[in-house]
């Protein structure tokens, strides 16, 4: 028996901001879930199971918050799963939900990911004072910046590439009403002139800290046939993990990322991702990760990713648009960030992306990663079912 095809028929997200002071945790997740239900023209009663994801519980100070949120998400009397795979969790959560449909365990599943970072402070949650350990010497950027320097050394990329990515993503965000940062007066010069925080990372090349949630309704062929709007179809999906730190680990292009992408392309029958994929939503928390991941995902050869960025290929009107939504650089509720990538990919192939729609997008990649560049989750969605 082959797998049941999986369709995305509903997508909803909150308006993402630094602090959603007007809603409770339940109110935040319900805002995304209700929008997804409305998009699918379904009710809570139509949902068979709920799969929820978020990053560490210390961010909100609620242990296993899905227990508290069960009623808010209409899960009473239903199965509910809670996924946690660090920064990749938004993507992993969607894939766990997709498997419930693919395995024909359930017909229609609500999947949702969230973070309400304003309830605490992300840096506090990420750096609890563990005894005996060397104190963290440099905030979040200090973890990523040395890897970026390694990439620059390896690829010979010019120093301006990071700024180009930030400038592009922030302009894309202006077209996305849900994005957190709307910098109407953004210019390349402003990005270049922003303070160097963790050299080589400038302030404008970092992601914000956001409150937000994202939800999707996944369903089977029968559910898709009833959907009021054209669905996005999952053509491939995979997760890969490698250890946090190990002798020989390549932080610039982790093998887990390469293997994960290769698995997705194999499932989807993609042999030349650069030509056959129409756009990509890639988890880029610091702008330099765009060229790095372009290589890791097989869109460019080793050391060549920055050339695509520099040539404008990844612009919204380029021939491989990347982060049409404005990306993580413009919106980052950590636990939800991966699912927002997956959802944006689905919006694109459904033709529902509004002002940031890529004309004729038929196959789009959604990508998430987390931990020390160790957990990867990806899906490729298309405008037609996998068997057509």
């Amino acid at each position: 028996m082959s797998k049941e095809p999986v369709a995305v028929v509903g997508i909803g997200q909150t308006r993402h901001v630094a602090a959603r002071r007007d809603v409770s945790l339940a109110g935040l997740v319900r805002e995304a879930a209700r929008r997804a239900l409305r998009d699918a023209e379904l009710t809570w009663a139509d949902i068979d199971a709920v799969v929820i994801g978020k990053a560490p519980d210390f961010f909100e100070g609620v242990m296993m918050p899905e227990l508290y949120l069960a009623d808010a998400l209409g899960a009473v009397g239903k199965p509910m799963l809670r996924v946690h795979t660090a920064g990749s969790v938004g993507g992993s959560t969607a894939l766990v939900a997709a498997n419930l449909v693919a395995a024909r365990v359930h017909g229609t599943v609500l999947t949702l990911a969230f973070e309400k970072q304003s309830e605490s402070n992300a840096m506090w949650g990420l750096s609890l004072p563990i005894p005996f350990q060397q104190p963290l010497l440099a905030g979040a950027g200090g973890f990523f910046a040395p890897h970026i320097r390694a990439y620059m050394r390896r690829s010979g990329a010019p120093e301006t590439v990071g700024a180009l990515v930030a400038y592009k993503d922030r302009r894309n965000a202006l077209k996305n009403p849900y994005a957190h940062l709307h910098e109407h007066d953004i210019t390349l010069d402003k990005v270049m002139a922003s303070p160097m925080l963790w050299d080589p990372i400038r302030y404008s090349e970092t992601c914000p800290s956001s409150d937000g949630a994202c939800a999707m309704i996944l369903t089977d062929r029968a559910g898709a046939a009833r959907a009021p709007r054209s669905p996005a179809w999952m053509l491939g999906g995979a997760m890969r993990s490698e250890p946090t730190l190990f002798a020989g680990k390549d932080f610039v292009s982790p093998r887990a990322g390469q293997d994960c992408a290769a698995d997705v392309y194999r499932q989807a029958g993609i042999t030349d991702p650069r030509r056959e994929i129409d756009g990509a939503e890639i988890y880029v928390p610091f702008s330099w990760y765009e060229p790095m991941w372009l290589e890791n995902l097989g869109f460019a050869g080793e050391g060549e990713g920055w050339k695509l960025t520099e040539a404008g290929v990844t612009e919204l009107d380029g021939d491989l648009p990347v982060n049409m939504s404005g990306g993580v650089l413009s919106t980052n509720p950590i636990g939800a960030s991966g699912m927002i990538r997956f959802a944006e990919a689905a919006l694109q192939v459904r033709g529902q992306a509004g002002e940031h729609q890529v004309d004729g997008a038929r196959r789009v990649l959604g990508h998430a990663y987390g931990g020390g560049s160790q957990f990867f989750s990806m899906w490729l969605v298309g405008d037609r079912p996998p068997d057509s």
Binding site: M1, S2, K3, S24, L25, D48, P56, D57, F58, V62, M63, M64, P65, L67, Y68, A70, D71, A75, V76, G77, K78, P79, M80, L81, R82, V83, H84, T85, A86, S92, L95, V96, N99, L100, A103, R104, V105, H106, G107, G125, L126, L128, I130, D220, M239, R240, S241, E242, P243, T244, P254, R255, A256, D259, C260, D263, G371, G372, Q374, F375
Partner: protein, 354 residues
């Protein structure tokens, strides 16, 4: 709800667990977990590279550290990179995720593990952080207090009394005398009220431990295990969070999960119930319609060893191991999560006729 027949047979083919102890402070989590991973792999002859999917369950709040599961992965040997996932839940739900992964046909084998160290923190206080963060958590009602409210509701309803609860506790600990892994083995004084009506004997020991299970599909399972424990059904359901909106003397989510798992289609001979408190076994027996002829918790259950986040997976492992040994033909395994049995999972396992 879709309920198409699923034509993949999936079985538990191996199970291993630590000796559960009050503390394992001399070991990090990965040092505690790794021998169990080796044992469960060795018993099938599989290596990490032979495993198609890996899934684990654990809790950052228990560990007191964010992303605590990432270091546990070191014990697996995830190189070359592996297809892997993690639930912030008891390992029984990790097993459920792995079961769905195998059902899709994308995997034929899966490694599932879970671990929990309750010794570093005060687990009664830690678990208060699971509660409604606006109306309940600020009052710090601990896990024993909530279980005691449930126990009193059962007593008021005439479903049990203190001597009956003592008998449940004593029967579980007596059964544990033949379980070399249990933390409490043999008689334990019923003791004073910890939180009336619950006495110390009605409550689980606090301790550290880990467990691992291997799942395999079809002929692969038959190759790996002389008598696979076939998962005939598995389902889980959740209830409303607020204790004040639930009937604490009943567990409709357990009953529904059991129905969906096919538990009521034919009698089981064994049941491994994840009932950390004696009173919760009373609720579960009623919801699952278990008669006196069913051998309940031959392992001693969670009253004999309760490594949080692993104790539910251990119920499935213990039920499966009993089938492997030929001591059971059809067993029910149950796992729970949340205050007063809020979320429940039921699996029905069978061995082929002998």
């Amino acid at each position: 709800m879709t309920s198409a027949p699923r034509d993949r047979e999936i079985a538990v083919v191996a199970f291993a667990q630590t000796d559960h102890r009050r503390t394992s402070e001399e070991l990090s989590e990965v040092e505690m977990l790794m021998p169990v991973l080796h044992e469960v792999l060795d018993s099938t002859g599989l290596k990490t590279a032979d495993i198609d999917f890996t899934c684990s369950g654990s809790s950052d709040y228990l560990a007191g550290r964010a992303f605590s599961f990432t270091l546990a992965l070191d014990g697996v040997g995830a190189w070359p990179p592996i297809s892997e996932s993690h639930v912030e839940m008891d390992g029984a739900w990790a097993l459920y995720e792995a079961w769905t992964k195998i059902l899709t046909g994308d995997a034929d084998t899966a490694l599932v593990y879970a671990y929990g160290k309750s010794s570093p923190g005060s687990v009664r206080d830690v678990l208060t952080r699971q509660l409604d963060p606006y109306y309940v958590a600020p009052l710090w009602p601990d896990s024993v207090a909530l279980a005691a409210l449930q126990a009193q509701a059962l007593i008021d309803a005439g479903d049990t009394d203190e001597p009956a609860l003592a008998a449940v506790a004593s029967r579980n600990r007596a059964a544990a005398s033949t379980n070399p892994h249990a933390q409490l083995r043999g008689p334990v004084p019923q003791g004073d009220h910890l939180l009336q009506p619950l006495r110390t004997g009605d409550c689980p020991p606090i301790g550290d431990g880990a467990a691992a299970v291997i799942l395999a599909a079809g002929d692969r399972a038959r190759d790996l295990c002389a008598r696979p424990a076939w998962i005939r059904g598995i389902d889980h359901r959740i209830e409303a969070h607020g204790l004040g909106v639930r009937d604490l003397t009943d567990s409709p989510s357990t009953r529904l999960a059991a129905e969906r798992a096919g538990a009521f289609e034919r009698p089981v001979d064994t049941a491994e119930l994840h009932a950390p408190f004696s009173s919760q076994e009373v609720v579960l027996r009623k919801a699952l319609r278990l008669g006196e002829d069913v051998d309940v918790n031959p392992s001693g259950g969670a009253l004999a060893a309760n490594p949080i986040m692993a104790a539910g997976l251990i119920r499935i492992g213990e039920a499966a191991a009993r089938i492997h040994r030929g001591r059971s033909d059809r067993a029910l395994a149950h796992a729970t999560s949340g205050p007063c049995l809020q979320q429940n999972l039921v699996a029905v396992l069978e061995g082929e006729p002998r």
